[in-house]
């Protein structure tokens, strides 16, 4: 079941990536495109060769890769979304730096040494930090009333709640032990599959016709 679900996630991520390519939306977030590619690669490997790849070291490596890509995504989005708004960009970057520093210190405080400690202590804290990083961008967007592209909105709207669900799953892992969490694991995988399907739909959706004057759109979203 886990194997099939893992493979399915990889396949959905691949189709979402193709959608982004076909609709010319890769430039709206290179880190996100890379993230989809990495999901495809890792999940295909884990789904097709579970004996070799469906293990904790690979899982940890995968999660750390995702974490790096999400940090890159937050930085990339802070540059894209607020390109025309220096004040908002400054606020966003200051907040990102603060959240990143606090998260790094918090992870260091856990001083994970072994693989088990990284999975039980390190990764939940990384996920929590990621959730705050992306939610912070959403807060700045709301505060400064920055219009979002549907692609960016889909990324931010799905990531923040999913990362929280994932953190709860990992925390349950730590609290209830490694064996009593299979139901939570299925739920976590199911939620992530839902997130990927949502991104797939948004990636393939045609571009909406803008109702505002082109000069306004160009001023507010110069990258579009």
């Amino acid at each position: 079941m886990v194997q099939a679900m893992t493979f399915l996630q990889g396949a959905v991520a691949a189709v979402a990536f193709v959608g982004l390519t076909r609709r010319g939306r890769l430039r709206l977030g290179w880190s996100f495109a890379l993230y989809l590619v990495s999901i495809t690669i890792f999940n295909t490997l884990m789904g097709l060769w579970p004996g070799r790849f469906l293990n904790w070291p690979t899982w940890l490596f995968r999660e750390l890769t995702y974490a790096g890509l999400k940090v890159a995504l937050a930085i990339e989005l802070s540059g894209l979304l607020f390109r025309a708004f220096p004040s908002a960009r400054q606020t966003a970057r200051t907040g990102l730096l603060a959240i990143f520093s606090v998260s790094a210190a918090w992870i260091a405080m856990a001083s994970p040494g072994s693989l088990g400690e990284w999975i039980r202590l390190g990764v939940p804290r990384i996920k929590c930090g990621e959730a705050f990083l992306l939610a912070w961008l959403l807060m700045v967007v709301l505060w400064y009333r920055i219009p979002l592209h549907s692609h960016h909105k889909a990324i931010l709207m799905a990531f923040a709640p999913y990362l929280l669900v994932f953190t709860v799953f990992l925390q349950a892992l730590e609290t209830y032990g490694w064996t009593g969490t299979s139901d939570v694991n299925y739920l976590n995988m199911l939620v992530f599959l839902g997130v990927l399907i949502y991104w797939l739909i948004v990636a393939w959706r045609p571009e909406e016709v803008s109702e505002v004057h082109p000069s306004v759109a160009k001023t507010v979203q110069p990258w579009a």
Partner: protein, 217 residues
């Protein structure tokens, strides 16, 4: 760790909910308003509408005074009620405009300077006090954007205070038919609502000027 998760849920989920509810199309329209000549047209329309509504308020209160002079208390009360309702419907419109301006002002990185409200421009004591408060806190704020938003906040509070004063004065006139209504209060409220409206329009103009300057930069 669980407490961090609870904290994250409490803080992040409302943000996601608000972002989900927000219409990107409406947000883009707001930008269009301040970045194109549509803003100037909106300012002119607001000017005209404000003038027309305030003229109606003036007319209603003058007729109420006339009815009182003619010894027709029922007609006077009807007109006072009408005047009160006009102000009650006018103030929320201005409050919504001020709230929208406050949000739009965050889009500007360099706001044109604004002066605080002048206490001597107001007749009602409550509004004079608010204007003093504005003048006092104005000097504690560093950026023109913060000063601008303080001014909008004080204007909003002033509209609310004015609405309360008029409602109370109208209620008193209804409950005590033997006592002459507080014409001085009504007169002061009429003048103050005009001053507040002019200050609100001035704020909108400053916002548009700042947006225009930013666009050119």
């Amino acid at each position: 760790m669980w407490w961090i998760i609870v904290l994250a849920l409490v803080t992040l989920l409302p943000v996601v909910y608000l972002a989900g509810r927000r219409s990107e199309r409406a947000t883009m329209k707001d930008w269009e308003l301040v970045l194109t000549p549509r803003g100037q047209r909106a300012l002119q329309t607001m000017h005209q509408e404000t003038r027309a509504e305030l003229a109606l308020v003036d007319l209603t209160y003058e007729q109420a005074k006339g009815a009182a002079d003619d010894g027709d208390p029922e007609q006077m009360m009807r007109l006072l009620d009408l005047g009160c309702r006009l102000i009650e419907s006018y103030c929320p419109t201005m409050l919504r405009s001020l709230a929208a301006m406050s949000v739009l002002s965050r889009m500007v990185s360099a706001m044109a300077p604004v002066r605080p409200l002048r206490p001597r421009d107001f007749k009602l004591r409550q509004l004079t006090n608010l204007a003093y408060m504005n003048a006092f806190f104005h000097h504690f704020l560093v950026t023109t954007g913060e000063r601008f938003r303080l001014r909008l906040y004080i204007l909003s509070r002033s509209f609310l205070a004015l609405m309360r004063v008029v409602t109370r004065a109208t209620g008193d006139a209804r409950n005590m038919p033997d006592v002459s209504p507080e014409w001085r209060t009504f007169e002061a409220a009429r003048k103050d609502v005009r001053t507040l409206s002019e200050d609100s329009l001035e704020a909108f103009r400053v916002l548009l000027v700042s947006m225009e300057a930013e666009r050119k930069a």
